[in-house]
Each structure stands twice: as C-alpha cells, then as structure tokens.
C-alpha cells in the first residue's frame, strides 16, 4: 500500500523540550506539537476548545496538556478533554519523527 498522506516538516525534534510543547503555524492555521516523556511526538489544533487560548504556552505533564488560562486539560495523544472547563475534544493530527525531524499530516 502506498502512503498518500502529505507530511510536512514542522521542526526538529530538539526544538521541542522533552515533556514540552511548541507552537506551529501553517497556512494560516495554528497547531501545537508535543514531545512526550517517551520522546514520541504528537500534534493537535493549537487553540483550546474552551476559549481561544494557545495551548503551546500550557504545561505538559506526562501525556496531558493544560490550558495556560483556565486549567482545562486534554490528552494530547487522543485530544480527549480531561478536565473542565474544557469539555469539547481537541482535534489531533498524525505526527512522526523522521531523521530527527518532526513531520505532521495536517490534511
């Protein structure tokens, strides 16, 4: 089977702190990239579903991202809203590491 997904290089793995997040803007939209404690990478929509606050400024603990304003929290691997006031899940996008680069599929 051929992989027809369009992968975009977002940054180098080292650009994201371990257990940290980084903002990534592409074609007028904003995303958040995450580097988990196990060095896996993940990508979600950039803005919290509760209010338009960028999640890349939030705190990453294990597999959880907490909104920097209202403390709503999500599992950044699945986008699941874990804590109020966030109640709507976050959109997620495939991400992978190739040769030390973080690649995302935003289609």
């Amino acid at each position: 089977m051929t992989d027809t997904t369009t992968w975009i290089t977002a940054c180098r793995l080292d650009d994201i702190e371990q257990e940290g997040a980084l903002r990534f803007d592409h074609q007028g939209r904003s995303y958040a990239l995450y580097r988990a404690p196990d060095d896996s990478v993940w990508c979600t929509a950039g803005l919290c579903t509760h209010e338009a606050v960028h999640l890349a400024d939030g705190l990453v603990m294990d597999f959880e991202i907490e909104c920097p304003k209202h403390s709503g929290a999500f599992d950044y691997r699945t986008g699941e809203a874990l804590r109020l006031p966030a109640c709507e899940n976050l959109k997620t996008y495939p991400a992978k590491i190739v040769d030390g680069e973080v690649r995302v599929a935003l289609g």
Binding site: E19, E51, V53, H54, D57, L59, E66, P68, K69, H70
Partner: protein
C-alpha cells in the same frame, strides 16, 4: 420533593448547579439568575475581542436541559425564609428548598463623593457594552481606581484609541495584589502607551464632563468609570438573619450560620483552618468553591482549601500570580527572557507565592509549576529558583522525592 436551590447564576452558582448533577443528585435543581440571558463568564468582559464586547456563555440551553437544571433568568430572589426553608422570588413564586446555596456575588463599590452617580461601575455585560461603546477613538475616559480591573480597562480602552486618565488614591497602581516590581513594569507600560496617571489623588466630586480631584485639579472626561473594588452582595443573607461581615460568613465547609444554607463565590467570607475569614474574588476559586459546596449540599464534609491564583492581561503583557505574595516575604527573582520574569516568595524557606509577567501567556507554565511546588510544601534552594537554567519541573521532582 426535595430541591436544591441556588441564588445567583454567575460562575459559582452555575458551576454548583452542574456539579450537583455530576455528583449524583437526582432531584430538582433550580438556578436563579437576576440577569437576562444565559449565564456568562465575567473575566472576558474587560478584554473585548475585535471591538465587540465578548459575552461568553458558561453553558448553553442544551447543557442546562441535559442536566435538568431549572434555570430562571431575569428573576431575583427577594427574601429567604431560613427556618421555613423557602425562598421568595420577584415573580411572586415561593420555592421550598432542601439545601440553599447563596452565590449572590459582589457589586462594584460606589464612590461616596458628590456626583458619584455619574460614574459607571464595571461588573456586568451591560456595563461592559456601555463603557466600550463610549470608549472609542478620541473619547476621554477617566477611570477611578488603578487595581486590576481599572488597569485592564485602561489598557483595553487605550488600545481602542480612547484618551485614558487613571485616578488612584494610593502612590502606585496595583498596590493590593501585585508585587511592587511587577506593578511598576505594568505602570511603565501603560505610560508608554499614553495612559495618564493621577496618583496619590483623591476624588472630590464628579460632574458632567469631568472629575474634580481633592487638590482642585479637574480631569476632563466624557465617560467616568469607578473601578474601586467590589462589595459582597449580602443584602438577602442579612435580611434572612445569616451572620455577615464583609461577606456571608461560612465555616471551612462553606456552611453559613444557618443549617442547610451554604454560601460560595465572591459573596462568601470563608474561614480557614486558623479561623481567618477571607473573600477570594477570583474566577478559579468561584469554581472550586462551587464544587465543594455541591458536595457538602449532598452531605459530604469537605473543607474548602483556598488556592489563590489569578491572571490579568494588559496590552500584550500577561500577569499571573499564585498564592498571596507580600512584601514581608523573602523574594527571589528569575529572569526568563528580556521581557519576562518570575518572582518567588518564601516564608521561612517555604515557597508560598509566585508571580510572573511577560508577553502573552509565556509565564503561565512556570506559574503552574510554582503552584505545584507550593502545594508540595517545597523549600527550594533560592539560588536554584533564581537560575533560569534549572527548570521548575526539576525542582518539583526534587521536592517530591524529598
């Protein structure tokens, strides 16, 4: 039929209504809101987006229906019969309750000088709509009070092009809750943006077209806003005979002096373990108290533990403070960028508060970690706190291992 009744549909009352259902209450829940429309969040009111006042509902109709919350907008409670366990409504109805939560909030404090009625307070979306409709390019706006709300309003109005003058009786802005070095940076930023300050200035009178200061100077103004703090709304509670002193007095479990009646949010003056009563006036505490109150209405005995934390946005700067910093505490500063810094406040070696100021939300993560350090009763090494190369996550791991 046993019913839970909540007076006040702000952040606290609304959260309590949902929390009661989430925690398993199957009976009736009535939420009484004096304002029309859906319950809405107050913090965004002083931060208008793209010109429009931002009324963000806390929940929609569908959520209220799904949780079977009987929401009564535009209805106020006119009397509470504590021994008879009922509340009288402005539409003439009388609602019996099994447990009652007073979440009546607070009202803007009013000036006491002649002409005080010419100033608008800032609390509701109607206040915000009126103030931002008037505060357009070129309009002269005088803001009395340089606390958090006064300073946020000054910034928001200045960005819209208004000529803003801030009048404050103290010698410096933001004296109450913000460490002086950060207050000074915010003050400087306002000055650089062209906000005018009259500090150490008393207000003698308000008149059409201006503010007269105690020293006789006149500040011309097309619009005047009073941002001199809020008073807890205790009128109903006092009339019902509940103990009040700068708020409706409660114990640690948010129970008032009358069995079956609880109080939470801005209206409540909650005693801590040491017996000191305090009001919190913060968005997060309103929600935390709501959840504790809901549990205790259902028979639990959970003490409310205050976790003071707030944020303020002024121009592109974001301020966040966890705990209660005071000048009696030892302070350690950490510079995290040219325009962003943190301060840590220690009491006998224990971290008790942290404050941060920088563009956008860039200090949020560190303040959250500082809060976790505070909750872990950490006694971090001051030199490590000052060193930006040592992450707060690493200090947290050390504290948890200790």
């Amino acid at each position: 039929m046993d019913a839970m009744v909540i007076i006040g549909a702000g952040e606290c009352g609304t959260r309590a209504a949902f929390a009661l259902r989430e925690q398993g209450w199957d009976g009736a829940i009535t939420l009484i809101g004096a304002e029309a429309g859906l319950p809405y969040e107050r913090p965004p009111l002083s931060k208008p987006l793209a010109g429009a006042v931002h009324r963000k509902p806390i929940c929609d109709d569908a959520a209220l229906r799904a949780a079977r919350i009987d929401y009564l907008p535009g209805v106020s409670a006119t009397a509470v019969d504590a021994p008879g366990r009922s509340v009288r409504l402005s539409d003439g109805r009388r609602l019996p309750w099994h447990r009652l939560l007073m979440a009546t909030g607070a009202r803007p404090r009013r000036l006491a000088c002649p002409g005080a009625g010419l100033a608008r307070g800032f609390r509701s979306d109607a206040d915000a709509a009126r103030i931002f409709a008037g505060g357009t390019a070129g309009a002269r706006v005088a803001i009395i009070g340089a606390g958090l709300i006064g300073m946020e309003l000054a910034a928001a109005l200045r960005v819209r092009g208004a000529e803003v003058a801030v009048v404050e009786s103290a010698a410096a802005p933001l004296g109450r809750a913000v460490p002086p070095h950060l207050a000074a940076r915010l003050h400087a930023r306002h000055l650089a943006e062209g906000v005018t300050f009259h500090l150490g200035a008393g207000v003698a009178a308000l008149e059409e077209g201006g503010v007269i200061l105690a020293d006789g100077r006149r500040i011309p103004a097309d619009h005047i806003v009073a941002a001199i703090g809020v008073s807890p709304d205790t009128a109903l509670a006092e009339a019902a005979g509940l103990d009040c002193a700068n708020g409706i007095l409660t114990d640690r479990f948010l129970c008032t002096s009358h069995a079956g009646i609880l109080a939470a949010g801005d209206c409540a003056s909650v005693r801590d373990e040491a017996g000191v009563a305090r009001r919190s006036e913060s968005w997060r505490d309103a929600r935390l108290q709501a959840e504790t109150a809901a549990r205790n209405m259902l028979g639990a005995s959970q003490a409310h533990v205050a976790r003071p934390w707030f944020w303020s946005d002024q121009f592109d700067l974001g301020l966040q403070i966890a705990g209660r910093p005071s000048t009696d505490q030892a302070m350690v500063r950490r510079i995290i960028a040219q325009d962003a810094e943190l301060s840590f406040h220690l009491d006998g070696g224990r971290l008790v508060a942290a404050a941060g100021l920088g563009p956008g939300n860039c200090v949020a993560r560190d303040i959250r970690l500082a809060e976790m350090l505070i909750e872990a009763d950490a006694r971090p090494d001051p030199s490590a706190l000052a060193d930006p190369a040592i992450t707060l996550k690493a200090l947290l791991r050390t504290a948890k291992a200790a």
